[in-house]
Structure formats: C-alpha cells, structure tokens
C-alpha cells in the first residue's frame, strides 16, 4: 500500500500517528547504554526549558533570570569555589545512597544522619576547642562517620530484625535529629559568651578544615568527596560486596539462590550511606560554618537523593550530577541577589529535574514502534494491488 501515494494513503499516515492503537510499546531486552547516560542530559535541558516558562509566568525576564541562575555563578573564581563547596556534601552523600538504591535499600534519612555526624564531630571540636592538637580533625571525622552510621543502624536494625520499612523510619529519625541538634545548641552546647544566641562556640583552628584556595571557602572536603566517589566506584566494580549489592537489586531471587545474605547487604548499605552522610555533616560544621547552629544543611540529604538518580546511581556519574545540583543551590542564591527571585525556585527546579529524569527513563526501558497490527486493520488501508 505504501506504493500508492494517493490521498487515502496520506490520510492513513495522519490517522495512525495520532491513534494510540497504532503504536506499540514494548520493553527493551537490553538497556542501551548510550541512551541511559544521555537521558540525564535531556532532563537537565527540559528543566531549563521549564525554568524559562516558570520565570516568564512569574513576570521576570526569563533570559536574564536563567543567565543569573545557570551561567553567571560560574564566571567568577568565587562562584566556582562555592560550586565545589556545595557539591562536596552532595557527592559524598549521593554516592552512599546510590549503593543502597541499587540494592533496593531506601535510606531517605541522610539529612538526619548528616545532622548526627555534625553533632558527634562538633562535640569533639568543642571538647578540645582550646587545644592545638593535630588529631582533633581526624578524631572528628572518625566520630562523624560513627555517629552517622550509628544513626543509620537504627533503621537497619528495625528492617533486618522486625521487617520495618526503612523509608519511614529513616525519615522520622531526620525530624528527631534536627530537634536533637536544636536541643543541644539551645541548651548544653550553647556558647557561654554568645549573648544567648542558639549556637555553639566557634571551633578552634585545629578543628577547622584547611582552606585550599585563599579568599574562598573551598576546603578539603571537596577533594575528599571526589576520593570517596572513586573509592566507592572501585568497591562496587571490583569487590564481591559490590557484586552482591548489584545482584540483590537486579535479581533478588538469584541473590537468594546464590546464598547472599540480604540482611548483611541491608546493614552494609545503611551503614555506608549513614557514615558518609555523617562525614558530610562534620565537613559542613568544620568547613563553611565553623560552629554548631540549629540548621546545618539546606536539605543536602534530600537533594542527594536526586543527585544519586541523576548520576544513574554510578559513583562517577554522581560527581557530575553533584556539580549540577550544586549549581541549582548557588544559582538560586545568585538569582535572588541579582534579580530578586525567591530562593524557593531551587526546590522547584530540583523536583522538576527528577520528574523529567524519571519520565525520560521510559525511553530507556521501553521502545515505541509503529504497531503493524493497527496498520493492517486500519479501515483506510487499500487492498494490495
């Protein structure tokens, strides 16, 4: 019939394009790797396009707003250094969460584990605040990892022992952690010379992360985050634990058959992600903040969930996606200063980005083809000549 370029043939084409029955959606047998890594880019582009219309509808000049959101922060050395300051915790937490997400362990309480890490590290800093010792900072990091991991151990224990959903418990513990920090800075850890402000003493020099670039806030944490991402990549790619995590996520039945312990993997995932979130927490208080305050993170623990997905749960991809999401923070701050955009735009962009990513996933997992059956049965089809 395609040999006949008559009017009826043309109508058939139009008819079939818009008729859902003429399309066939089938799961792909193999995930195309190129598409898998191209879709995050597509999601970012779509988010920017959506941002254009959001700014337009809010009455801002969309070109100017987008410029100040996505471009102008990257034009100064200070902006670039701030990008790394914000990307550090996002990468560190995102890498840990991604390991769990691969094994279907949904730790969404990283914000709470971050807070606990900030508290345990901060307590060490305050305990030795007037002592100039080389070991203060390493001890803080150790305690932060321990604090974050111990806090993540609660959902791990409840999940493995009583089969309680870790999503809800880890999230509830986030609220508890924030309130606990607030209790401390309003109470026992309040700076005795601080005019009753709810904040601790400033940490001593021995408890502060070294600044890498004079005149900026760029500290050692960013470099550590990159090293951790590479280390987790090695762990996931070359070790038996990494293999078990991947098998458990993709084929739970096969994992059981192979005798992998699901419980051990749950513990592993939660302790790893909790420990890394805790470390990120201490890096915040020992880096840009320099003391304990009631609110330590602008939602890094939640944003890191998006970072993990945007990076395709791959440690090296997460380095890139961490930088992108960090830009959404400093872009939001910059656009607020430059064009008076409300700070909340950042959250909208982050949510949109994840929406677009999840939607474009459809293209990765399914293929859309013309349905041969629909063509055959279409009323306009002409008899073969």
């Amino acid at each position: 019939m395609s040999h006949n370029p008559g009017a009826a043939g043309n109508r058939l084409v139009v008819y079939s394009v818009f008729n859902p029955a003429s399309w066939k959606i089938e799961p792909r047998r193999e995930i195309p790797q190129g598409l898998l890594y191209a879709t995050p880019l597509l999601a970012v582009v779509l988010t920017v396009v959506a941002g254009f219309f959001i700014f337009l509808s809010m009455g801002y000049n969309p070109f100017l707003a987008l410029y100040h959101f996505f471009v102008s922060p990257l034009l100064t050395l200070y902006g670039l250094s701030e990008l790394l300051v914000k990307a550090g915790p996002l990468i560190m937490i995102g890498v840990g969460l991604a390991v769990g997400f691969r094994a279907n362990v949904w730790n969404i309480g990283a914000e709470g584990q971050l807070t606990l890490g900030a508290i345990t590290g901060g307590v060490i800093a305050l305990a030795f605040w007037n002592e100039e010792t080389w070991w203060t900072l390493p001890l803080m990091c150790l305690c932060a990892v321990g604090g974050g991991a111990a806090y993540a151990a609660i959902p791990a224990f409840l999940r493995t022992r009583f089969n309680v959903n870790e999503i809800l418990t880890s999230l509830m513990l986030t609220y508890v952690a924030t309130l606990f920090l607030s209790t401390l800075v309003y109470g026992p850890l309040k700076d005795p010379m601080g005019f009753n402000f709810p904040q601790s003493r400033m940490f001593g020099d021995a408890a502060l992360l070294p600044i890498l670039l004079e005149g900026t806030r760029l500290h050692l944490g960013g470099v550590v985050a990159l090293m951790i991402a590479v280390a987790v990549w090695v762990l996931m790619t070359f070790t038996i634990v990494g293999f078990q995590v991947r098998v458990l996520g993709q084929a739970p039945a096969a994992a059981r058959y192979a005798g992998f312990s699901g419980r051990r993997i749950v513990w592993f995932c939660l302790l790893l992600s909790g420990g890394l979130a805790g470390l990120a927490g201490t890096f915040e208080v020992a880096g840009p903040i320099g003391q304990l305050v009631p609110v330590i993170s602008p939602g890094y623990g939640f944003t890191a969930i998006i970072v993990a997905f945007l990076g395709r749960l791959h440690p090296l991809g997460i380095i890139l996606s961490g930088l992108v999401m960090a830009l959404s923070y400093i872009g939001g701050e910059n656009a607020q200063v430059q064009v008076g955009l409300p700070q909340a735009v950042t959250g909208v962009f982050q949510g949109l980005l994840l929406f677009f990513l999840l939607a474009s996933d459809f293209l990765v997992r399914y293929r859309v083809r013309r349905n041969p059956a629909a063509l055959r049965h279409a009323p306009q089809a002409q008899p073969a000549e």
Partner: protein, 309 residues
Amino acid sequence: MPIDAVALVLLTVIGSATPLLFAALGELVVEKSGVLNLGVEGMMILGAVAAFGVAVTTGSGTLGVLAGAAAGMAMAFIFGVLTLTLAANQVATGLALTIFGLGLSALLGVGFIGIPVEPLPKLMLPGVSDLPLIGPLLFGHDALIYLSIFAVAAVAWFLKKSRAGMILRAVGESDISAHSIGYDVIAVRYRAVLFGGAMAGLGGAFLSLVYTPLWNEGMTAGRGWIALALVVFASWRPWRLLAGAYLFGGVTILQLYMQGAGGFDIPAQVMSMLPYLATILVLTIIAAGPWKGRLDAPACLGKPFRPST
C-alpha cells in the same frame, strides 16, 4: 479537670487528627489499588498553600477548600502520569513529588506569609451546641471535620461492599489477573491516585485554613509521612485508620500540653520528637507483634504494571 477543659483538650485532638485522617484515608485507597505514593507530604503542602491563597484572595473558605483538593489532585496526576503511564519507579517518583511540592508551595506562598485568613465557619446547632462536653465535642465544628468522619464510613463501605471497590482491591491484590479478566488496571489506579491526591489536598487545606490558620513554609512538618505510617498501622482498614489518626492527634496534643504545663524539666524540642518517635515505635510494634504476617498489605503494592498489548 473541669469539664470544659476536657472538652477543649479533646477538641484540639480532633483538630490535629483531622489532617492526618484525610491524607491517610486517601493513601489507604491508593495503596489498596496497589500503588505506593510516597508524595503525600508534597500533595498535602501544595493543598495547604493553594487553599490558603485562594481563600485569602477570594475571601471564600469553600473555594479555598476546593482549591486545596484540586491542587492535591493535580500533583497526584503528575504522579499518575509518571508511575502509571510511564511505569517509573514509585518510590523515586513519590520522593520527587514531595521535593517538588515543598519547593513549589514555598514559591507560591511567598506573598502569603503572616497574612490572616478568615477561619471556616462552624456549623452551629442552637441549643445542642451549648450542652456541656457533648455539645462542643459533637457539634459546632467546621464542615471538614464531619466530612473526614463521613469519608471514613464512605471508604469503608466502598472497599467492602461496592462493586467498584472490589475491582479496586482485585487490582491491588493481583494486577495481572484483574487485567486478564478484562479490568482496566491503569484506569482504576489513576482514579485511586487522583482520589488520594484530593484527600491529601483536603488535609493540607484543613491545616492552613482551620488548624493554624496561617500559611508557613514547610508547615506540614512531616504529617504526610506520618499519614503513610498510619496506613500501615491501620493495616489498610479504614475504621482502624480513624482510631490511629486520633491516637496520633492525641500524642501531638499531649506533647504540646506538656510543654505548656512547664512542670516537666524536659526541653521543648525533646517533647516535639514524640510524634516521630511514636511513629517508629508503632511501626515496629505492628511489624513485630504476634499478628505479623497477617497485615493484609495489598499484594501488588508498589509494583509497576504495564499491560502487555
């Protein structure tokens, strides 16, 4: 305690329980159809800001309530398109919905912070409303509280007795069988998800128009998540959900009163942890108790379904 004070305490319990009840009841229906929507918090807060904004600008509380439900529904529609049409991961999409809702509500609500709103009118019955204890407890509430109780009865009837409710449960228990005997799984789930969104939106509207009545960024404070826990606590049964919501409302109010009473040497923040800790405790008891294994979780909960055509 004088009888009026008792009535006052119970009234505040009802107030703090009702938003939970709305949101959890919606989620119960959603989960019964086999879908896990973790975005309750996001739908709820968008409902709160939409209700508040419309009530302030139009001066009509009723329009505000409707706007809240519509906003929750719109959010639920996004969730539906992603998880039902595009078969995206339900957990990740729910989280995205919450992050997006918190951001969008903050953006929309910038101009509404600190503005008062006319509270919803109370339904007064002359004579009966003045009775001690019973009067203020049973009468003189705003319409939303009665609606929430009525909704429990309606959902209980719908799931147990109505044909559509049985189809919904069948879809949640075994999507493949329901599909193969000719039910449109995706359409049933869409309806359930939209209902869940509208209910979460109503819960949010109650928060911003009745409970506080104010708009504040992040004012849901985890209530959407507690609602999710309540569904598990109620083991997917509407009447148990009612009991659970009032229990949690009670815990919230208890800690407020203990903070107010002062006599305790406990920081206010520690008391505020109570509802969250209670949620964890309750989830653990439910999972570990002698009735475990008979929780009646819908068999297809959270599993994506795409009809093979």
